[in-house]
């Protein structure tokens, strides 16, 4: 049942990806509408999958890369659906959904691991910590994609070569707005996630901060987004510079997410989260 949900969600999200790409080429509203509802269906399946995993494991399913990627993909779609209700920007889906589906494909290619779960993870702290961090990540992913769209559109207007994307992409002001809002709402999530994480560490290990690579890189990510927000609010950064900066910030975020977990070790790394972990 759980795995059926996962596969259905994956199927719907791939179908929606195809639809959103067809929409950006064909520009027919009904294609968008179909893809949107397929995506919603996929999102519901995905939610059911996460719910049943949570029920089975007793914890938020993020302890291996497979689950973490699928959860990341879920938060991106969630953030997109929320933002769509605000901005009604159809073409955004054509960038966001393929990205989310891409994460799901990687996730689906990985093997299921169902080892015993160490008692330290069976805590509400994990849910809050991971939930908020990933929600922030999802919003930052949208900010990143809006920045990419901004740079494409800006380049066309600046170089006066109004290609086929010119009509399909929204105005610079809109894209900049999406980037700004996503970072602004994503940042508090990341902040809360990091604070709860450190409280969770205090509760589990007796120390708030232990210079774990993931902790360090999260701090770096947090600082770079803080700089971006600060520059936006105080120095009035906008447009191209803010877009490039948010792409760079997202690069750091991805490194924190993948690099720090897979390469640098520490108690956050997925290999240490299994039953054989030393901690």
């Amino acid at each position: 049942m759980t795995f059926l949900c996962f596969n259905t969600a994956l199927f719907f999200e791939l179908l929606a990806t195809g639809g959103f790409i067809a929409y950006v080429i064909k520009q027919q509203k009904w294609i968008f509408r179909c893809s949107y509802w397929i995506l919603v269906a996929g999102f519901i399946c995905h939610t059911v999958f996460l719910g049943s995993r949570y029920y089975n494991l007793g914890i938020t399913p993020v302890l291996n890369l497979k689950s973490a990627l699928s959860f990341f993909s879920w938060t991106i779609i969630c953030a997109y659906l929320i933002l769509h209700s605000k901005f009604r920007l159809m073409v955004l889906g054509s960038f966001v959904v393929p990205f989310a589906a891409f994460l799901m494909i990687i996730s689906s290619a990985m093997p299921w691991m169902n080892g015993p779960i160490r008692p330290v993870f069976k805590s509400l702290w994990l849910t809050v910590h991971v939930g908020t961090v990933f929600m922030g990540d999802g919003l930052f992913a949208i900010a990143f994609l809006a920045a990419v769209m901004y740079l494409i559109q800006e380049r066309q207007i600046k170089r006066k070569r109004l290609g086929s994307f010119y009509n399909r992409l929204p105005s610079l002001a809109t894209l900049d707005g999406i980037n700004y809002y996503s970072v602004m709402y994503g940042f508090p999530f990341l902040t809360v996630g990091m604070i709860t994480g450190s409280m969770y560490a205090q509760y589990a290990f007796g120390t708030y901060w232990q210079w774990d690579p993931k902790e360090l890189w999260s701090l770096i990510t947090w600082l770079s987004y803080a700089v971006l927000l600060h520059e936006r609010l105080v120095a009035g950064w906008q447009g191209r510079r803010a877009a490039i900066m948010s792409i760079a910030c997202f690069g750091i975020l991805i490194f924190t997410f993948l690099g720090a977990s897979l390469l640098l070790g520490g108690y956050h790394s997925f290999s240490n989260m299994g039953a054989k972990g030393t901690l």
Binding site: K158, S171, L172, A173, A235, G236, Q238, R241
Partner: protein, 426 residues
């Protein structure tokens, strides 16, 4: 046999002097419709007169007579002898006429393909005709179909999307940068027909305030009054650059009016808000290097012409698709028109059934004695449903065969079978 006929002239066939004569009097539409209503050989008629075209659509049985009348009518309205305009006229009949009105309504026949005004003008002409009661079953349907076709083409093709005038292209670009122009501020430097037109477009799209600068302050005051805006002197331009979002320049100056350094200086104070220069002057008023600055966009007249050219090409593409839609709709209309020929027979069939029903009810009513209202209603329902069920299949049969070439035979047989002609006479 009734025909749909279109006689008209447009910007391609008639010179402007000729079109002027007909467009001159605002009352010409009413006059024309009066003529059409008076004359017997024309059943329905619509008269459209704009600065780019004069069109008449009418239905008539005796075609040559009706055509001659329409030509004499045009000559009377425009006060011009036949000989002067006969060579500029075109005549379409039946499906060609239908195709023509569809093309006109969806702006494929316009001077600027895709311009939106023509549909409004046709709607206006049709409204006049309905008020004057010169439009009937066929033209009503034809007009509504042509509105439908125009709407389909607007939504299904990109024919109306692209801006094909320079000032409109500038507005479109501004919207791609600022999203909405509401509350944006414009600085107009220099004056001229084109820049004033562009300014008008910007106002129409929501720009709220404008300042006007000119070398001679008097001229600035003059233009400012035109747009209900504020005049400033030429030296104030630098300060204004901090405030405004869009700068429209069209001076006759040989030297650039806006320099790279000037703009660079103001960027910090603007807090990086985007700044859009529309430079329609030749030689250029804005140094080309300004475009290299961050969040600053400069479009000169050649750039804008480039945008217009791309859009033109796009429209050509869309026009092909639009023609296909029109063919589809012409076929649909033709089909509907053919069902019209069976309508009189169906009507008299129904009338006959109704007459029999009423007569028989009258006869039997006396023998039935006292009835409650419920029973009386029930009898009425019963008789009616018997009659309707009996004639239902013949009616469906006729409707199905409506677009066959042998439909007249079927109609004949039906009339004989049910003895319809005699019935009508009695």
């Amino acid at each position: 046999m009734m025909k749909i006929i279109n006689i008209g002239m447009n910007h391609k066939t008639a010179a402007v002097e000729l079109r002027e004569c007909l467009a001159a009097s605002s009352n010409s539409v009413n006059k024309a419709l009066d003529f059409i209503r008076e004359i017997g050989c024309i059943k329905e008629g619509i008269f459209l007169s704009t600065c780019n075209r004069v069109e008449t659509f009418f239905t008539a049985d005796r075609t040559p007579e009706a055509k001659a009348f329409i030509i004499s009518m045009i000559s009377k309205i425009g006060n011009i002898p036949d000989k002067k305009f006969l060579s500029s006229l075109y005549t379409f009949e039946d499906m060609d006429a239908v195709r023509h009105i569809f093309r006109v309504a969806s702006s494929l026949d316009s001077m600027i393909v895709g311009e939106p005004q023509i549909l409004g003008q046709i709607k206006e002409a049709y409204a006049q005709a309905t008020i004057q009661k010169t439009s009937g079953v066929i033209l009503n349907r034809l007009m509504h179909r042509s509105f439908h076709v125009a709407k389909r083409i607007r939504t299904e093709t990109e024919i109306c999307d692209a801006a094909v005038s320079i000032s409109y292209a500038a507005v479109e670009l501004a919207e791609k940068i600022f999203h909405v122009l509401d509350g944006k501020k414009v600085l107009l430097i220099g004056a001229g027909e084109m820049s004033e037109l562009a300014a008008k477009h910007l106002f129409a799209h929501g720009v709220s305030s404008m300042v006007v600068a000119n070398r001679t302050f008097d001229r600035a005051v003059e233009v400012a009054r035109l747009f209900d805006s504020r005049p400033v002197s030429f030296d104030e331009i630098e300060d204004q650059l901090i405030e405004v979002d869009i700068v429209l320049t069209s001076t006759a100056s040989q030297e650039p009016v806006i320099t790279h350094d000037q703009v660079k200086k103001c960027l910090r104070k603007r807090r990086n808000r985007p700044l859009f220069f529309i430079d329609i002057a030749v030689p250029r008023d804005v140094q080309p290097e300004v475009n290299k600055l961050e969040n600053v966009y400069v479009y000169d007249i050649d750039d804008l012409k480039g945008v217009v050219q791309i859009n033109m090409a796009q429209r050509q593409q869309a026009a092909i698709k639009a023609e296909r839609i029109i063919e589809e709709e012409v076929v649909k209309f033709e089909k509907w028109l053919k069902t019209l020929s069976v309508v009189p027979t169906i009507v008299s069939l129904r009338e006959k059934a109704e007459a029999i029903l009423q007569a028989e009810l009258r006869k039997s009513r006396a023998c039935l004695g006292e009835l409650t209202t419920i029973q009386e209603d029930e009898i009425r329902v019963l008789t009616r449903s018997i009659a309707e069920k009996l004639i239902n299949d013949p009616i469906l049969f006729l409707k199905r065969k409506a677009d066959r070439s042998t439909i007249n035979n079927y109609l004949d047989i039906t009339k004989q079978l049910f003895n319809l002609d005699n019935n009508n006479r009695s």
